[in-house]
């Protein structure tokens, strides 16, 4: 029951923020909130993986980018060279590729969203499966290093491949018409519907994740965190559960990347970079690790501020510093009663203490 109240409160907050910004004439802020929502999908998945199951991933930005690049490749001019080829004509005939125009009005083909989204999800799931089977056998620092390596490899692939636009990334990605009256794109006229769509996805991800953590599967994940040996002795297929949650978190990230790319109209290799991965890890740590609501709140707040450019050139440094601060002073996150008490007491005593 508590779960439904909290979800309802989040939905109300989403609506309230929209009304507030609209009343203040600052509706442009919805853009950053929309983007923060897509990043929040990565954070929610990583919170399940890292906070609950205790498996760190320093390569999660790669999954976000994978979803994004899939969206970009399948909806831009990737098929230009194939034009006139019988294979492409057949795909068009089957409805798997639709003929249209690109951003400049030239003839171009793209894969419809009902196919490109499942492909993005499948790509992320497949990569997570192939990477996860060997890598999730590792523990602690070794797992961190392996996922770091995996993230770096994908980053370099995005950076070095023609298909992915190399260092420039892929721009002029078309908006995607999801439903009649719902188009994912960056046009100002689409701002409100995109805001609500992104947050609907976050709500959905939260409901699914909260269901998991308070169930048999969630207990199995947390038991792995507690003691992998004891979990196995209780009958938990630890390898499979770790793999499932790794795949699930990769899929959440890829969905976020997919829609973010259509919303932004493009994606670049920086989205797959190590600093992005560190940022996600820092957010989950600040949010309190095994704390979905904390991670969501902190994630949206920090990403919103970051996207607004509050941290300036020190953007990455802020997240790095946060990670150090959290590990040193509040390893259980800052949303804990004990930590807040400590902070309050320090603040009250400080001017008088000398």
């Amino acid at each position: 029951m508590k779960r439904f109240v909290a979800i309802g409160a989040l939905a109300a907050a989403v609506i309230a923020l929209h009304l507030l910004f609209a009343a203040a004439g600052a509706e442009y802020l919805l853009v950053q909130l929309t983007m923060a929502a897509y990043y929040a999908l990565v954070v929610i998945g990583l919170c399940l993986l890292m906070g609950y199951a205790g498996q760190i991933s320093l390569g999660h930005a790669a999954f976000f980018a994978l979803g994004g690049y899939t969206a970009a490749v399948l909806s831009t001019n990737s098929f230009t060279q194939l034009m006139g080829a019988p294979a492409l004509e057949r795909l068009v005939h089957w409805g798997l590729v639709t003929a249209g125009t690109d951003a400049y009005g030239a003839a171009a083909h793209q894969v419809p969203v009902w196919l490109s989204l499942p492909l993005a999800v499948a790509a992320a799931a497949a990569v997570a499966l192939v990477i996860g089977i060997p890598v999730l056998k590792l523990k602690g620092h070794y797992l961190a290093m392996a996922t770091l390596g995996f993230g770096t490899i994908l980053y370099r692939i995005f950076l070095g491949t023609r298909l992915f636009g190399e260092a420039d990334g892929i721009s002029s990605v078309r908006p995607c018409a999801l439903l009649p009256g719902l188009t994912i794109g960056g046009d100002t006229a689409l701002r409100t519907q995109n805001y609500y769509f992104a947050w609907a996805l976050v709500l959905l991800a939260m409901v699914l994740s909260l269901n998991i953590v308070s169930s048999r599967a969630g207990r199995a994940l947390r038991s792995i965190h507690g003691s992998e040996e004891a979990a196995a002795a209780m009958g938990v297929n630890t390898a499979r559960y770790k793999l499932y949650v790794f795949i699930l978190s990769a899929v959440f990230a890829a969905v976020g990347g997919f829609f973010m790319t259509h919303f932004n109209g493009g994606i670049g290799p920086a989205e797959a970079g190590i600093m992005k991965s560190v940022r996600y890890v820092a957010i989950v740590a600040v949010g309190g690790m095994a704390n979905l609501w904390g991670s969501l709140l902190i994630g949206v707040l920090l990403n919103f501020l970051s996207l607004r450019g509050i941290f300036g050139s020190y953007d990455d440094a802020v997240f790095g510093a946060l990670l150090v601060f959290i590990m040193a002073l509040a390893p259980d996150g800052i949303l804990r009663r004990e930590f807040l008490h400590r902070i309050m007491r320090v603040r009250i005593r400080w001017p008088f203490s000398k």
Partner: protein, 256 residues
């Protein structure tokens, strides 16, 4: 009838034969103890049965079916539950949740069903919680169900581990030095508890250092020394076995 039958089980670590050609049986409804000096291979033997270690050779039959070389989660699913020498609770979870994890093999909601919180899943969830509360009452820890497992004192942590192990309704319970770290009073309580579990129809195999505990409650005892079984039988026989006395007290009684 033998519930567990171990034949010629072997396991080496490098050149060390930790378990060497060990054979024994555990009969249904009995308490069997494995004793032996430190380093005799008792815990290795346990880990081989529970699947935490892979054997090098031999066979392990449980209910007439081979569980040789199965991973731990499959051994658990077959009906064998265990406790650990150094208590291994899930410190990040409450007492209730710890016991509920023990119910894993007796419930079936998978990842997808959990995610969608299907009616069937919610019903199962209630049953698991009720069963956990029942077990907590049995072990006198019902007042700390919502406490973090790591916050309990040692004795209560042991009780939680017992409740967790029994939540799966095992046929065979493996107890790895359950009296380690307990005082005399607690050890007496433990003895009663173990006998009570056996009277519930659960067969017990235990490793123990505490001789008086073992002699009091065991139906049969097997003695290991340097990875080999040197004696087996009811407590009165084992107690007077010259080889066993030699192993425990030193000396060359065993030579003749």
């Amino acid at each position: 009838m033998a519930l567990l039958e171990v034949n010629n089980l072997c396991r080496s670590f490098g050149g060390l034969r930790a378990v060497n050609n060990v054979s024994f049986r555990v009969n249904t409804g009995t308490i069997k103890a494995v004793i032996g000096p430190n380093g005799a291979g008792k815990t290795t033997l346990f880990n081989l049965i529970a699947g935490a270690l892979k054997p090098d050779g031999g066979s392990i039959l449980f209910n007439g079916r081979s569980i040789y070389g199965l991973p731990p989660f499959r051994v658990a699913a077959a009906g064998i539950s265990r406790t650990f020498q150094n208590i291994k609770l899930f410190g990040n979870m409450t007492v209730a949740e710890n016991i509920m994890v023990g119910r894993h093999t007796r419930s079936g909601s998978g990842f997808a069903a959990s995610m969608l919180s299907l009616p069937r899943t919610r019903r199962e969830e209630r049953e698991i919680a009720e069963r956990a509360a029942e077990l907590a009452r049995l072990f006198g820890i019902e007042d700390v169900l919502d406490a973090g497992a790591a916050s309990l004192d040692f004795g209560r942590q042991r009780a939680v581990e017992f409740a967790r192990a029994l939540a799966s309704e095992p046929q065979l319970l493996l107890l790895d030095e359950p009296a380690a770290g307990l005082n005399i009073y607690e050890t007496n309580e433990l003895a009663k508890r173990i006998v009570r579990i056996r009277d519930m129809g659960i067969t017990i195999l235990l490793i123990e250092h505490d001789m008086s505990l073992v002699m009091d409650i065991s139906d049969e005892i097997a003695v290991l020394s340097y990875g080999e079984k040197i004696a087996e039988g009811p407590p009165c026989n084992v107690r007077n076995n010259p080889q066993v006395i030699a192993v425990y007290l030193g000396g060359d009684v065993a030579q003749d």
